[in-house]
Symmetry: C2
Subunit: 315 residues, 2 copies
């Protein structure tokens, strides 16, 4: 009994969409599971080489076991071997944790034929991750708004104008999401909360219409970035460089360390180059990820294990 | 030199879109101006009978004079007579002030051929009103998101699903917007601001898609309604009645006193009846306004004065 899965990277927040908006990014985690043996073992390749976690505490394992529990399966008796490879930078605000959780849950669902719905996978994975903004686009693809409602967690796919492009500059150092969360204040002026709400609305409308002024306002977040940006050396210079080169704006990808810009398509090459150059001027060799086209969500298949899972080529 | 204008009522906030989202409502202020004489005189009919303001301090006059100033005209030498009639309830959260300001500005623009753009009318009127959320839909029609950006005030028309309908129950007592603003706290927990931002995003997405769960979350505001609802007797009962009858949710229209519900089209008649019945049970005879179809924005024309401006029929 084997299965394989492919889950994209994701960038959360997009400025004012704090904890509720995320978008799939064209980097991939691929993994395969083979049931059998005892306990769960994990073989990691690519960026996952950097992960130093015992297999029974790994996010793959937690996603896998939570799906088993939700599906009424008991994998405790039988073990599983997970082979995983990824080109998603780890700890840089590109949803590597969400990808691993979703991969684990989908591998269990496919290999054990649990028949879980996407909505169940979303709930399971969000419970482990703590918030849905990376998990939802990792599952659904594209840009997604996730909101808790009395009817449960709603993940709604957002329209994204084909006239815009995302550019993500990834430095070689990670940021701690936990520390970034601890930097947030307990209280906020009511007037800032009003501005934040208007800009969150502007993000949804700006993505749909490609309106540069709305996107510029949306990327100029007041809820979290002001308290986190000092943790990412070079942040101000990279954001300023992106704007000077024609981006509507730029902000932290998730809690950082990566920086995301949104630009009109015709300026995107210049914006990406400017971001990399600005970081280089600060002594940082960053890597550029461009996401010009909508990136699909996770897919999983039951079937023979692939012996050497490797990230697929960009579409 | 004469001109006439027609401006719709508006409902602002729609729950989580505090100070940034508004929608045109099918009630109208119509007015005409005749230039000549000295000073500005105003004749009021309909709901405007209740207005007790000296003509030189009236919102029509302020809009008129601000447009003259922006357009480089000096009406100080010549006077103007404004005849105005309205069926927009006054002081109930339906944009009667915004309608008067916009009417005054558009009358000046048309009668004096100032050639102001819609964007200039928006800026002028917002400066007088203090916030754009009623002014923008009064000018543009439909639902509008208004956001301050470095490039100026952006008013962006929102998609509204044809599957939803607005129902507004208007009690016979007004609410003071000034007092309602004073009820807001200085500081807010950061976690509430995060919820508020997610729900503002949910409002834009819910209006566009008609997703009932998103609209329900969006109408359950945490930024202003919790601090204002006690000022509107019967609020909780009317909101509960709307929800029981099938509305996605209900909230204050603007700062109240009117209550707005959003419902699936097939439940709208029942929701409207339930809101009126709930208010009647509390001893209040409220009036129902339904806005099923998109309501157009203001229109102004240069030409002969109409001797008895009356609200036009619903489309």
């Amino acid at each position: 009994m084997t299965a394989r899965v492919r889950v994209p990277a994701t960038s959360a927040n997009l400025g004012a969409g704090f904890d509720c908006v995320g978008i799939a990014v064209d980097r991939w985690l691929v993994a395969a599971v083979t049931l059998g043996g005892t306990g769960i073992s994990i073989r990691r390749r690519g960026t996952l080489n950097a992960v130093r976690v015992r297999a029974d505490q790994d996010l793959f394992t937690r996603g896998f076991r939570a799906a088993c529990a939700a599906g009424g399966a008991s994998p405790a008796g039988g073990g599983a071997t997970i082979e995983a490879s990824s080109d998603i930078p780890v700890g840089c605000g590109l949803g590597s944790s969400a990808a691993a959780i979703v991969a684990g849950a989908l591998l269990a669902d496919a290999a054990l034929e649990l028949g879980l719905s996407r909505s169940q996978i979303l709930e399971i994975s969000t419970a482990i991750e703590g918030h849905p903004d990376n998990v939802a686009p990792a599952i659904c693809g594209g840009a997604v708004l996730s909101v808790q409602t009395p009817a449960g967690l709603v993940a709604s796919s957002l329209r994204v104008s084909p006239a815009i492009e995302l550019l993500i500059a990834v430095p070689p150092f990670p940021n701690s999401t936990k520390a970034a969360r601890a930097a947030l204040p307990q209280m906020l002026p009511h007037s800032d909360a009003v501005v934040a709400a208007g800009r969150a609305a502007a993000l949804v409308q700006g993505l749909a219409t490609g309106d540069g002024a709305l996107l510029g306002a949306a990327l100029d977040d007041v809820l979290h970035v002001p308290f986190r940006r000092a943790r990412v050396p070079g942040y101000d210079a990279v954001v300023a460089a992106a704007q000077s080169a024609g981006a509507f704006g730029a902000t932290l990808s998730g809690a950082g360390s990566a920086i995301l810009a949104i630009a009109p398509r015709e300026r995107s090459a210049a914006v990406g180059a400017a971001m990399i150059a600005a970081w280089r001027a600060a002594g940082v060799e960053a890597e550029l990820i461009r996401s010009a086209r909508p990136v699909p969500g996770a897919s999983a298949h039951r079937g023979p294990s692939i012996s050497h899972p490797v990230p697929s080529e960009s579409p």
